[in-house]
């Protein structure tokens, strides 16, 4: 242990602790900008480059950065002397001198770390007038927008993309005032190997990386009297949307969300969970076919479009391992424009399907040609919250309402799709039923749950032992795929989610600052919702049963293949 003093307070901390951590342990705030703890990845972004966390040390002439300075015995630190405060303010003033002053119309207005710093440091004038960096905005992709003029060079996106996700899209390029974080050859991000997982957006402190905003398109569809506009919401939305309105992390707001969607003017409000149940049935069927017919194993889940794009770029020789199942919201889109349109008597050409997703990759996914035009627009949790605010809805006062019938019923198995381990647990419940003829005595396969980035477990189904692997985060996915490529993988099935923690921590969710406690609360709520339902297994969903009886025939049928399955394409590695 090391004894130090912070603001004259005696503090004892473990050797190797930074000044920043030591101060936070005793409730002393030191402002930061570039620093971000990335627990999920086991690494921190601490380049020590922004100098916003400068503090004074007794007996030392210069100030020192708190985020990268490790404490030593007898050190005496002062975080709030006039000199330290003035230095930090000057640093931020210099940042502002090279930052566009368009906060009022910025996507991150009221939710920007630089803006918050400026407010907290009491900056009341633009003190320094200087040359501003000039960079082109990159709006090439369906998922995210890069505005390098708002970049503060914190390098969080680089750490996330290169070290955590191992995708390697971003690097700092050029030097001096021209320095920016960009892609290889400064190419549009749409032409890069970006998977659109959106984790760079979720760690960006400013408006340099933001979601592509499609709220205007959805408002236009809602305003068109000729269109029947239907909406669906993914499981992860209902345990995160409340945070946008000041509720606790993981607050369960399914009913309010449905009520709010109706008040925005959507004609029908459906549940992506319905399609998650459908996915389980198709995926379980495919897995058993592969096992019984000596097909390609392991089978990998295919719900996550970022992970699908990752394998297409990075492992183009392994495209026979992912399940051919479309992701749940794409299944719902395909069923909506066929079966549902028939049932409602609506011309599918006049039907608009909107998906509310925790994800930026789903935006790009909806433009994939192989998937047809099932889903027209994808909005994130944050975009939905902004539409609620635009419409003047008092979220807290909304009543609890239910999803519309035909595609509104779901099992608890569908709810847990939103967290790491959930998709494969849901699938396992149905696989056990198919193999043994009865539901598992306990549907909760807790061996599949957890937060480690790579996990493995065995599920018993009668005489069969299913070996299951789970990876979350693309860096972990890469390790799984390398094993498969090298013939070392012995799993039957592997679940992969691109975002560390799964969809609850997706790139379209309320900003969580990589705080694992927030992500855990959201996941815990999904498991709680599952636990409270009577219907726990996908194959007992009566609406899904009706869909098969009236329309699809049986799992893996010709029609099911046409509407619910897809194919993958080889993409370049660079």
């Amino acid at each position: 242990m090391v004894n130090i003093k912070i603001n004259n307070l005696a503090v004892q901390v473990e050797a190797g602790t930074t000044i920043l951590e030591a101060a936070r342990n005793v409730g002393i705030t030191i402002p930061t900008l570039c620093y971000m703890k990335m627990e999920s990845a086991g690494c921190d972004n601490a380049p020590g480059s922004c100098r916003v966390c400068m503090v004074e040390q007794e007996g030392r002439a210069n100030l020192i950065p708190a985020c990268v300075t490790v404490v030593w015995e007898g050190m005496a630190i002062h975080t709030n002397t006039p000199r330290a405060i003035k230095t930090r303010r000057t640093v931020v003033e210099l940042f502002l001198s090279n930052h566009p002053k368009d906060c009022l119309v910025c996507e991150r207005n009221k939710n920007c770390e630089l803006q918050t710093l400026a407010a907290e440091l009491n900056i009341r004038e633009n003190k320094y007038d200087g040359k501003m960096a000039k960079h082109e905005k990159d709006s090439s992709s369906m998922s995210l927008i890069r505005d390098p003029e708002k970049c503060v060079l914190c390098r969080r996106c680089e750490t996330m993309c290169n070290d955590v996700q191992t995708v390697g899209v971003y690097s700092a390029i050029n030097r001096s005032l021209e320095t920016t974080v960009s892609t290889a050859f400064n190419a549009p991000v749409a032409d890069s190997t970006c998977t659109f997982c959106g984790q760079c957006v979720s760690v960006c402190p400013t408006g340099a990386l933001t979601q592509a905003n499609h709220t205007a398109d959805v408002w236009a569809a809602l305003a068109d009297p000729d269109k029947t506009v239907i909406v669906q919401a993914a499981p992860a939305i209902r345990v995160a949307l409340g945070e946008e309105f000041g509720m606790a992390s993981g607050a369960r707001v399914t009913g309010k969300m449905v009520a709010g969607l109706r008040r925005l003017g959507f004609n029908h409000v459906y549940d992506t969970n319905f399609a998650a149940d459908l996915t389980v049935i198709e995926e379980a069927n495919e897995l058993l076919e592969r096992i019984n017919n000596g097909g390609r194993l392991p089978m990998l889940t295919s719900c996550c479009p970022a992970w699908v794009k990752f394998i297409e770029h990075q492992f183009p020789t392994l495209l026979d391992v992912p399940s051919t199942c479309k992701s749940p919201h794409e299944m719902l889109g395909a069923i909506a424009k066929t079966y549902l349109a028939q049932k409602l008597g609506v011309d599918p050409k006049k039907m608009v399907v909107v998906s509310i997703m925790p994800c930026l990759a789903k935006k790009y996914e909806s433009s994939r040609e192989e998937l047809g035009q099932g889903v027209d627009y994808v909005l994130t949790t944050r975009e939905l919250a902004s539409m609620f605010r635009e419409a003047g809805l008092n979220f807290h006062a909304l009543p609890d309402e239910s999803f519309d019938p035909i595609m509104g019923e779901s099992s608890g198995a569908a709810d847990i799709f939103g967290t790491t381990g959930g998709v494969i647990e849901a699938t396992a419940r149905t696989v056990v039923h198919t193999l043994t003829g009865k539901n598992p005595a306990n549907v909760e396969f807790t061996q599949l749950r957890g937060t480690d980035n790579i996990r493995e477990a065995t599920v018993k189904a009668g005489d069969t032992e299913l070996k299951i692997g789970i990876a979350n985060g693309l860096g972990s996915a890469r390790k799984m795929l390398e094993n498969i490529r090298d013939g070392k993988s012995t799993y039957h099935a592997i679940e992969i989610m691109a975002c560390p923690g799964g969809c609850v921590a997706g790139g379209g969710q309320p900003y969580h600052g990589n705080d694992q406690s927030v992500i855990k609360e959201r996941a815990a709520s999904l498991y709680a919702i599952d636990g409270e339902k009577n219907l726990r297994v996908a194959h007992e969903n009566t609406e899904v049963k009706a869909l098969y009886a009236e329309f699809l025939d049986k799992p893996g049928s010709h029609k099911a293949h046409d509407l619910l399955h897809t194919s993958y394409v080889k993409r370049a590695k660079v």
Binding site: N162, V167, G168, V169, Y170, S171, A172, I173, N174, R175, S182, T183, A184, F185, N186, S192, K573, V574
Partner: protein, 162 residues
């Protein structure tokens, strides 16, 4: 370059394969690649990224950071005028202007006929010989403006002789 491109890549690969480790090798490999190809076009960068198993974005990032590396093909004759402090105070700007005038081109560009590249450099570390330039790797020190036409002429003669 086209006719023996394969041989050039083979030379680069041989260099990389002979390295004891690929870790931290990027800058030396880029030096070697520029040595071999004369410049670092996209294809060479992608090749290096692949060989060293680093993202292409990182290769591009390093290359755009160091002004020594270039992505544009240079001319047959490469004139580098040192604009370091010592050279500058002894009239390097006049030398550069004279090259610009006589070659009818701007500094830091390559002529359309790919015959000349004229670049202004930071200090090359030979301040005692200021103002100094290098022409096709050879240095010419203590220059005066009127030396420029002779240097240009000798380059053209050598080219004809070759």
């Amino acid at each position: 370059m086209e006719k023996n491109e394969k041989a050039l890549y083979a030379e680069l690969d041989a260099y990389i394969d002979a390295m004891p480790t690929k870790q931290g090798a990027l800058i030396s490999v880029l030096h070697k690649a520029q040595d071999i190809f004369g410049y670092l076009p996209k294809e060479v960068q992608t090749h290096v990224a692949d060989k060293l198993d680093v993202p292409a974005s990182k290769v591009y990032g390093v290359l755009t950071f160091y002004s020594f590396f270039t992505m544009t093909q240079k001319g047959k004759n490469r004139v580098n005028v040192c604009m370091g402090t010592a050279c500058f105070v002894r009239g390097a700007d006049k030398i550069l202007e004279r090259f610009e005038r006589d070659l009818n081109m701007k500094a830091n560009t390559t002529s359309e006929d790919k015959l000349w590249s004229l670049d202004a450099l930071r200090c090359i570390g030979a301040c005692g010989l200021a103002p100094i330039i290098t022409v096709n790797g050879k240095s010419h020190g203590r220059l005066v403006e009127d030396d420029v036409p002779g240097i240009i002429a000798s380059c053209l003669e050598e080219k004809e002789g070759a």
